[in-house]
Assembly symmetry: C2
Homo-oligomer: 396 residues x 2
């Protein structure tokens, strides 16, 4: 039947964001997002792990939440219990772990149970774009606290907390990415981690610790998680498998005590996270975590060095950046006066994609002359060529 078309613009809700454009494919020199290195995806081992898990109990597929209930596949949570203890100093049981569809769902669920419109939270002045956009969508106020190469400036944090208290405001949490911060790549010192817990106690404000990148320290040991330094329940902790294996996998986790966990579970209304991803990753990491992570770290270190060298060669002293101790990003400061948002389209026309700094900043204009570059996906040659092209785009 061919009737009059329905005009959905008369039906959409009041609050709609702008429509998506049609997908244009991927840029050639791709420095955006948190893509991973295809050469490091263990495809052969995934065949082995898939064979293992599909020889197992078919009820894993035939049922909702077969072996682990709504908190996720038990083998994956058991792996995390081990890994969190060994790598991050966090000692919990499988009951304190919730598998999520990407760590973004962890942020969504924590916000869902804690935040009302008009609430206030504290974030690092430069921080994860997805966390900021989630807060904006909820009309939650956020206050950015300055960070330096040692993490959050605790003097500034105390001022903010005191000032808010004077105004009768108790922030709902302090959101921090202490270990290989996104976007700056810094690691909060142990001293500041303890100071942060003390301030959290003094002002009765929980800490929301996002450790998506903590696996990716290039060399040596990493500072232990803030969650591991506290046993008074004040740290909500999230992490991810997308950064250590690849973001095509939508797998993350939340670590929380039962009073919070029981609320998170009742808000997780997706009938579970896909089990094939969970089972295959659970099997693979239970057998190969150590070797995989070592490969990953050295490959990322190499690419980070190539990117640093290319920036020095093509941008020279006009750019400023810290070489990070790990992760997959460089946070690059361009001369002041430049607005990196203005050049996104021009760069794309040259095949180069980067993230403009303002998206990763509590105060967007304060990061106008910053860009974030992810070095995990492009090959070493693509990094060199891409940065050469980018320098031309910026006329530097």
């Amino acid at each position: 039947m061919a009737g009059r078309n329905i005009d959905y613009s008369t039906l959409f809700n009041k609050d709609l964001s702008s429509p998506s454009g049609k997908w244009q494919g991927h840029p050639k020199y791709n420095f955006i997002g948190g893509h991973s290195d295809p050469d490091l995806v263990p495809m052969d081992s995934f065949i082995e792990s898939a064979t293992n898990v599909f020889k197992g109990d078919a009820r894993n597929i035939a049922m909702y939440n077969f072996d682990g209930g709504p908190q996720g596949v038990l083998s994956l949570r058991s792996f995390l219990v081990e890994k969190l203890a060994t790598e991050r100093g966090i000692h919990v049981t499988t009951e304190e772990i919730l598998i999520t569809s990407g760590s973004g769902q962890g942020i969504e669920l924590i916000n869902e149970i804690l935040l009302d419109e008009g609430d206030t939270v504290i974030v690092e002045s430069f921080t994860f774009a997805g966390a900021l956009s989630n807060l904006r969508r909820r009309r939650v106020n956020f206050v950015g606290v300055d960070i330096d190469e040692s993490g959050i400036r605790m003097d500034r944090l105390k001022d903010i907390l005191e000032n808010l208290k004077t105004n009768g405001i108790r922030p709902k949490y302090i959101y921090t990415i202490p270990t290989l911060q996104n976007p700056t790549g810094t690691v909060m010192t142990m001293e500041r981690r303890y100071q942060l817990i003390k301030l959290s106690e003094e002002y009765e404000v929980p800490i929301f610790e996002d450790e998506c990148y903590a696996d990716l320290i290039f060399e040596g040991e990493c500072e232990k998680a803030i969650r591991s330094l506290d046993d008074s329940n004040r740290v909500l902790h999230i992490g991810s498998f997308s950064k250590s294996l690849g973001p095509g996998l939508r797998l993350g986790y939340v670590v929380a005590s039962w009073d919070v966990m029981s609320r998170l579970i009742s808000k997780k209304s997706d009938a579970g996270t896909g089990v094939m991803d969970q089972m295959i990753v659970g099997d693979y990491f239970s057998n190969h975590y150590d070797e995989h992570i070592l490969d990953m770290r050295s490959a990322l270190k190499r690419k980070c060095d190539v990117l640093s060298a290319a920036l020095r060669e093509h941008f020279g002293p006009l750019v400023d950046f810290q070489e990070p101790r790990g992760g997959m990003y460089l946070w690059v400061k361009l001369p002041s006066g430049i607005d990196s948002r203005d050049m996104v389209q021009t760069a794309l026309e040259e095949g180069v994609a980067y993230n403009p700094g303002p998206d990763w900043s509590a105060d967007p204009d304060a990061a106008a002359n910053y860009i974030r570059l992810c070095f995990a996906l492009p090959s070493e040659n693509e990094i060199r060529e891409g940065i050469e092209k980018l320098a031309k785009v910026f006329h530097l």
Copy 2:
């Protein structure tokens, strides 16, 4: 550090639902939810498909949305283009298909773009519990329209639409599960499908067609989808892979024209649905859909017969139900005066789990003496034993 514990009850948002209890494992005689038959999960073929896809391009894992953009893995959408044309009479391109993390996410996204608090929608009087709970959470009004063995009563629907119009209310959509309805198992006749489109035109109200169960017709051909009978863009169509393969897979889809699709994509903020599930199912169904579905249909028919016989044996003439043409549920009417909610706990203590009717009813009390039984998961013996126990619980 051992400080004072944080009391999260002073921090939770105002609108919180009750906490989840700890997971108690699965009941022995499990007639709840939409679990599937473990014997029908093609575990060996999944090994084959996993091997195929993990021999492919590692960028599928290493990148967000590698081969298909944010709408989902291309091989799975290409399979759907074929299947929707052959099985449901729906002719679309991959650009009109969005892969979702379960069909529940399809409902969530469609509601997200169309519904404001206080809006009105029309639903079938008995309908999917998850759709109702989503509407309640959004504080959207829903009006239940009577259904019979031929689907929605169009005379009643016209009255409702006319009445709302008189009161200045344009409903945002008419939600229907026309093909193997959940919970009643009925199939809307072709005549009524055309009438529904005419009413949709007359009152300018879109149709939201949920076809999660349409694959599962026991015998013969199924009535074509409402979406296939209209080319004026008034039908939003969703479907699922969870019912034909198993709900551990969280895979569904939305079919919509670009004006709606572009809005759905911009609201799908999960950074994509997990790719392993998508790729493995895409490979498996591209090669084995027909044989798998035939197996599934005959096995479900057999279990449906066993459940019907067990109900007749143990409940006798005190229960009333229609044998459905497909699907995985029986919608069973008990003598009036019984409230099925009262017996849930007693039945569970006997190891028997069923869904009380009120959860699947726009007017909960109107379905107090109904229960929904899913026959896909339990073995034939478990069905017989479970129903014998259930009859004792109800003292029938």
